[in-house]
């Protein structure tokens, strides 16, 4: 469970993921009415990253099932009242009442995803072999916008074993032009074709001294 993780868990659990979607839908349903979705989600993200991840004691207290709902309410009020929007605080209280504060990680992920969807934005993951220049990033951005017809949010990462080129991931689809994959593919194709050719005309490949036996490899 998340209580034992270093940070708010990034371990994947389809059940938690589903739960996150339900709560995120509810949260955004409320904030869309007041038009504060972007602000609340940004605040939510900052809460998780800047507060809960940095203060393990607070996190464990909030996540713990041993601490009663009333104590958590008092703690939340004391810590956050006035420093965070009323909507987010209420949401945290609701989570506390349902004993779901520990699912806050998946809820945040789902909320970010859902907000992107509502705003017509797509999250794109770009992996390259070497750090990427801003200029190149802009070109990639422009290309992706033209291709997907949507605004894109680019997350970059570096993986040296790609050797070169880049891998773009949109949702479940991967566009892979990395050198590593190309080489791998070339290897399989070349092997296959060479094997075929050897089988078709064995005589061409066999040394002079054993041409008589060439019918049976």
């Amino acid at each position: 469970m998340a209580e034992h993780a270093e940070n708010i868990s990034t371990r994947f659990d389809p059940g938690q993921e589903h739960l996150g979607e339900v709560y995120a839908k509810a949260l955004l349903g409320a904030t869309e009415k007041t038009g504060t979705s972007d602000a609340v989600v940004a605040e939510f993200e900052s809460l998780v990253e800047d507060v809960l991840n940095k203060l393990p004691a607070l996190r464990e207290t909030l996540f713990s099932l041993r601490v009663s709902h009333d104590d958590k309410l008092a703690l939340l009020d004391k810590a956050f009242r006035g420093r965070m929007s009323e909507q987010l605080l209420n949401f945290l209280k609701v989570l506390s009442r349902h004993h779901r504060l520990s699912s806050i990680g998946p809820i945040l992920n789902a909320a970010k995803k859902r907000l992107n969807q509502l705003r017509g934005r797509v999250e794109v993951f770009v992996t390259t072999a070497a750090p990427i220049s801003n200029q190149l990033l802009e070109t990639i951005d422009a290309k992706l916008v033209a291709m997907l017809g949507k605004q894109v949010i680019i997350n970059t990462s570096v993986a040296p074993d790609l050797l070169g080129g880049l891998v773009v991931r949109v949702g479940d689809t991967v566009y892979d032009s990395s050198l590593a994959t190309q080489l791998q593919k070339m290897r399989t194709v070349a092997l296959e074709h060479t094997e075929q050719k050897i089988r078709q005309s064995l005589g061409r490949f066999v040394g002079v001294d054993s041409e008589q036996r060439s019918s049976n490899p």
Binding site: F12, P14, T173, Y175, Q182, M186, F205, V206, R213, P217
Partner: protein, 505 residues
């Protein structure tokens, strides 16, 4: 053999020069958990049921369960090197196996990979493993016989080309022997044979392959093996893969025979998969669609209409029962799907009646219309099944030890001799003409004076006698396939002549 490295290098160089790079577009997911031959995958949002996926190690899987948050994948091969977090790639195609003449004489796994060390299978053709069975308009009634070469079967439960005849019985009652004899008898008949071994000991499969090789049957036979140590997914798809290979010949207008040995093990493998995938269990913990699993397989055996080439696929599924329990779930299912069953019983087997077929409850629902005319004749095997069933009743009654009148005694004597006559050695399939002659002799009462223990000697001697001294009779019977009055006269004469010289030693 010495290879010329320069030549090979030049070919590879040409390949590299002509290689045009393309962006590799693929739909991917991530392995959440893996084990017991299945994997749960997150992502793959556009995947379809039954679609192939590939793991980083190159192992192939099939999308089996499509759920709200994940995809259940059955892994066809080694699953120990797959890890949590691995990328899974959708291949966008259905599973298919190599088909064609190249598979004949080979021993393969269910994916068509050779296991016999005879090199790769050279064919460009393939067929999807799961295909629809031919529809109503594409079929015609079964009308040609498929001779198994076993007297008891060809006489009393004849099998037609395109029929599904179940072989059912306890362990060690000779089920596989019947199927193997049927394959051996297809020599020179042009029927292509397929033996699918599911969950069998590798040693038993090796023994079957050896028998087929020794009798020259491997030339027209292909063996598909997923042994007892193969993961459940491979055992599950093996019969479908074998059927795909056999169907190729059916749709080409040829005839094929497929043996599934055995479908109870396949049902068990399917149960294992379904339970691991958390599909709800039903009776005997089998999933609800285990009937469909077998019915869609056996429906693919058919006699095609003349417009489609008139090819056929005959199947001999095997089911192993526990303690003769035919009313268990899987046996009743398969009995209801097939066009008849050959029921083998251990007590008959130990009495020395082999094949140990119980005549009373073995039936063939369509084969009768495909039986050779001479065999169906009332003077030969027509009515033999009922006569034997009546004999069994009488025999049970006679065991009470009461004095019997002459008529009953003579019926008993006839019965004993018929039972003796229907015994047959393993791997000794008999030509249908020979079968007709000896059954005619037995049914006509010509053996009543021969001691029971000498019946088999009489049979062998008589067949040799006809072969050597009356080849014309044999030839005519083979050509006409029916018993005309003249032929009957000649046959009577031949039997009478042989009787004179036969001396029971």
């Amino acid at each position: 053999m010495k290879f010329n490295a320069d030549e090979i290098a030049s070919v590879i160089q040409a390949e590299i020069e002509n290689y045009n790079s393309q962006v590799d577009v693929r739909e991917v997911g991530t392995v959440l958990e893996v084990g017991d031959g299945i994997a749960r995958v997150y992502g793959l949002s556009g995947i379809m049921a039954g679609e192939m996926v590939q793991f980083p190690s190159g192992t192939i899987g099939l999308a089996f369960n499509l759920e709200e948050n994940s995809v259940g994948v059955i892994i066809l091969g080694e699953y120990l090197d797959i890890q949590e977090g691995d990328e899974v790639k959708a291949l966008g195609t259905l599973l298919s196996v190599p088909v064609g003449e190249a598979v004949m004489g080979r021993v393969m796994d269910p994916l068509g990979n050779p296991l016999d060390g005879k090199g790769p299978i050279k064919t460009n053709e393939s067929r999807p493993v799961e295909t629809m069975a031919p529809g109503v308009a594409g079929r015609q009634p079964v009308r040609e016989p498929l001779q198994t070469g076993i007297k008891a079967i060809d006489a009393m439960t004849p099998i037609g080309r395109g029929q599904r005849e179940l072989i059912i019985g306890d362990r060690k009652t000779g089920k596989t022997a019947v199927a193997v004899d049927a394959i051996l008898n297809q020599k020179d008949s042009g029927v292509k044979c397929f033996y699918v071994a599911i969950g069998q000991k590798e040693s038993s499969v090796a023994a079957v392959v050896k028998v087929l090789e020794d009798h020259g049957a491997m030339e027209y036979t292909a063996v598909i093996v997923s042994g007892a140590s193969a993961p459940a997914p491979l055992q599950y798809i093996a019969p479908y893969a074998g059927t795909a290979m056999a169907e190729y010949f059916m749709y080409k207008g040829e005839h094929a025979l497929i043996v599934y040995d055995d479908l109870s093990k396949q049902a068990t493998a399917y149960r294992e998969l379904s339970l691991l995938m958390r599909r709800p269990p039903g009776r005997e913990a089998y999933p609800g669609d285990v009937f469909y699993c077998h019915s869609r397989l056996l429906e693919r055996s058919a006699k095609l209409s003349d417009e489609l080439g008139g090819g056929s696929l005959t199947s001999l599924p095997i089911i192993e029962t526990q303690e003769g329990e035919v009313s268990a779930y899987i046996p009743t299912n398969v009995i209801s799907i097939t066009d008849g069953q050959i029921y083998l019983q251990p007590d008959l087997f130990f009495k020395g009646i082999r094949p140990a077929m119980n005549v009373g409850i073995s039936v063939s629902r369509v084969g009768g219309s495909a039986q050779v005319k001479a065999m169906k004749d009332k003077r030969v095997a027509g009515g033999l099944r009922l006569a034997l069933a009546a004999f069994r009743e009488l025999e049970a009654f006679a065991q009470l030890g009461t004095d019997l009148d002459a008529a009953t005694q003579s019926r008993l004597d006839r019965g004993y001799r018929m039972v003796e006559l229907l015994k047959q050695g393993q791997y000794k399939p008999m030509d249908v003409v020979d079968q007709i002659m000896v059954i005619y002799a037995g049914n006509g009462g010509y053996l009543d004076k021969v001691p029971t223990t000498k019946v088999q000697a009489w049979e062998a001697g008589f067949l040799q006698f006809v072969k050597d001294q009356r080849p014309k009779l044999r030839q005519q019977l083979k050509e006409q396939q029916a018993l005309s009055d003249e032929l009957v006269k000649e046959l009577d004469q031949a039997i009478a002549d042989f009787q004179k010289q036969f001396k029971p030693a």
